[in-house]
Symmetry: C2
Subunit: 411 residues, 2 copies
Amino acid sequence: MAVKINENYMLIKSNYLFAEIARRVDRFQEENPEADIIKMGIGDVTIPLPKAVVKAFKAAVDEMGEKETFMGYGPEQGYSFLIKEIIEKDYAVRGIKLDEDEVFISDGAKCDTGNIQEIFGLDNTIAVTDPVYPVYVESNVMAGRSGAMDEDGKYDGMVYIPCTADNDFTPELPETPVDLIYLCYPNNPTGTALTKDELAKWVEYARENNSIILFDAAYEAYITEDNIPHSIYEIEGAREVAIEFRSFSKNAGFTGTRCAFTVVPKEVKAYDSEGEAHSLNPLWNRRQTTKFNGVSYPVQVAAKAVYSEEGQAEIKESIAYYMKNAEIIRESLKEMGLSIYGGVNSPYIWVKTPEGMTSWEFFDLLLSKANVVGTPGVGFGPSGEGYFRITAFNTLENTKEAMERISKLEI
Amino acid sequence: MAVKINENYMLIKSNYLFAEIARRVDRFQEENPEADIIKMGIGDVTIPLPKAVVKAFKAAVDEMGEKETFMGYGPEQGYSFLIKEIIEKDYAVRGIKLDEDEVFISDGAKCDTGNIQEIFGLDNTIAVTDPVYPVYVESNVMAGRSGAMDEDGKYDGMVYIPCTADNDFTPELPETPVDLIYLCYPNNPTGTALTKDELAKWVEYARENNSIILFDAAYEAYITEDNIPHSIYEIEGAREVAIEFRSFSKNAGFTGTRCAFTVVPKEVKAYDSEGEAHSLNPLWNRRQTTKFNGVSYPVQVAAKAVYSEEGQAEIKESIAYYMKNAEIIRESLKEMGLSIYGGVNSPYIWVKTPEGMTSWEFFDLLLSKANVVGTPGVGFGPSGEGYFRITAFNTLENTKEAMERISKLEI
């Protein structure tokens, strides 16, 4: 006898997308020390925390330093003062009613979208759009819901739903039944969005097939068009089949501060092997109370300040700044004759690489000739081959400069 | 077909220990509104964050508010500036050498001790001491490493190692082979410690049986005796068989601020089904990079300040304050003729309930007659029946007052 590893970990094909990007960028910089490289690859924000957030954050740290106001363990589910704001200002304003115990504060949408699969059985069939945020896939592979990766870059047993220019990036309903469906809209990496009508088809599918939709809405703050839902609960019947993930990372610059939340309505149910239905809300509560210990108190106070009048004004300004960049990227690349997608309801622009060029070839071209770094689409899944992601999270100056350089290339 | 729940969750017998305590306390307070209840139940600190920590914390929040110093995504494993301090000031000083990539910063020892089982196969046998911190048990039950709970309060398939006055709270090596061994020393809840010689027996056992020790050292800062190891790596050969968990919660008051770390030496290995050995360090790294997104930057800066000269002086003072309370509790209860354990290398005092009294009967007695709240030992496992936990985390005044009230009881 000897202690055994979780062998599912051995199935993970480490594409280490961002590590490979960093390696190529470092090598290029070393060989070309004078090159002024502009990075538009990783989806990380650059505008500092709103002043209203900083002020509240520091005041809460001060509370932690005084006997009378010191806070020890908080509720694993998060403080009521933050949950109330979320319910009122993110949901009630859109006509969505939530109870306080349906909202779970956490330290990140990555953590929550990675952990959520734990409350489901191992014998569920998983569906993801392709290209896809790798966490949805890999967290399930590690848990044992797949076989090995095939030659085509897909894990055996998982259902990949292609989203490419061919279908206008609108995922088609699966032909074989699936149990858990990960949808991220506005989408990372393609930057495209789903209309209410399109999302309603998925809700209907889930209701008919006793499936559950895991809806990642981390980018909802970037939505500019009216017919794009900010929350899946804007769709009738979604409360019974959908769990929603939100984050303060992309709307308020919390990527390094860490706060997010997950909504698990009490009506969402899954089944045991006898066919009996169980509400998922107490299961997620059990998962979080056993394996998580709540978000830092000052961080929750900081997140609350995002909803203040001043905070809201500041984050609107930041988002407008990024979306101005997105527009510049869209217009510049379109003018060059490239096919581009996204960037209207999202800070990501998804570029079709020029005829006959792979994602990595285009990456190398932009790096070497324009000193601009983006992300090869193939890194997000097989259907990402032939595409390239550019983010709007740089400064206006750098964005303009990058586009100027790219426009001079002969593509 | 329909989406399935993780049925292992149904096995959890919700003892909801602290919820039941809260329920009884609330009811008593309602019926006796004038009663001045002193709480010595939950293991939560009460002394505010050290001034050095608050100062550094706030300065880091300021950095997050300025373009030039703003921090976005950090490394999932934590910042080097904090890891370096840990290695130098927690380990090198005790002659323990660690590489930077052997230390993983996290948001809590509860999270890490709950998540660590994910990198191991489901077919491992789990051993815990009894009484035990419930997270070790429940995280394994939820993952599927046990059967249902027996009538005696033990999950089928798990190995419980009794630690009671009968064996001087020294766990005996298991008679049947086990794969994963959870040890928490200084112990929660008993407050007892293991000497180097005793811990060395476990390291030897693990080496001989290809087992792994998951060593929770969250309370090491409370050690006062020389022959008690602060780290399991003080034991020769432990680097090959032990993972260690540490936290800033109990030494520096971070229960509401959230920062901890886990040490996974590269030599620690487990086996696949072909008998091939795999280093656990890259497996934990994979788990953390896929399902976690790093600790808040300002919190990591705050944790670094714990290691400053000022920070160290402040935390020593707080610990001395709590340990003075522990001494008062020990002496008072001893004088009453009660058998007490722990409280020398730990902020917990473990009390044998008076002859013929169960843990909950003693709880009700102290609540109703002395208006003092503690924790029934049976809540931590079947071998905790007939014991009671009192914590030293209240104020000196309250601690004295509580002891005075208890000493007047006819026990």
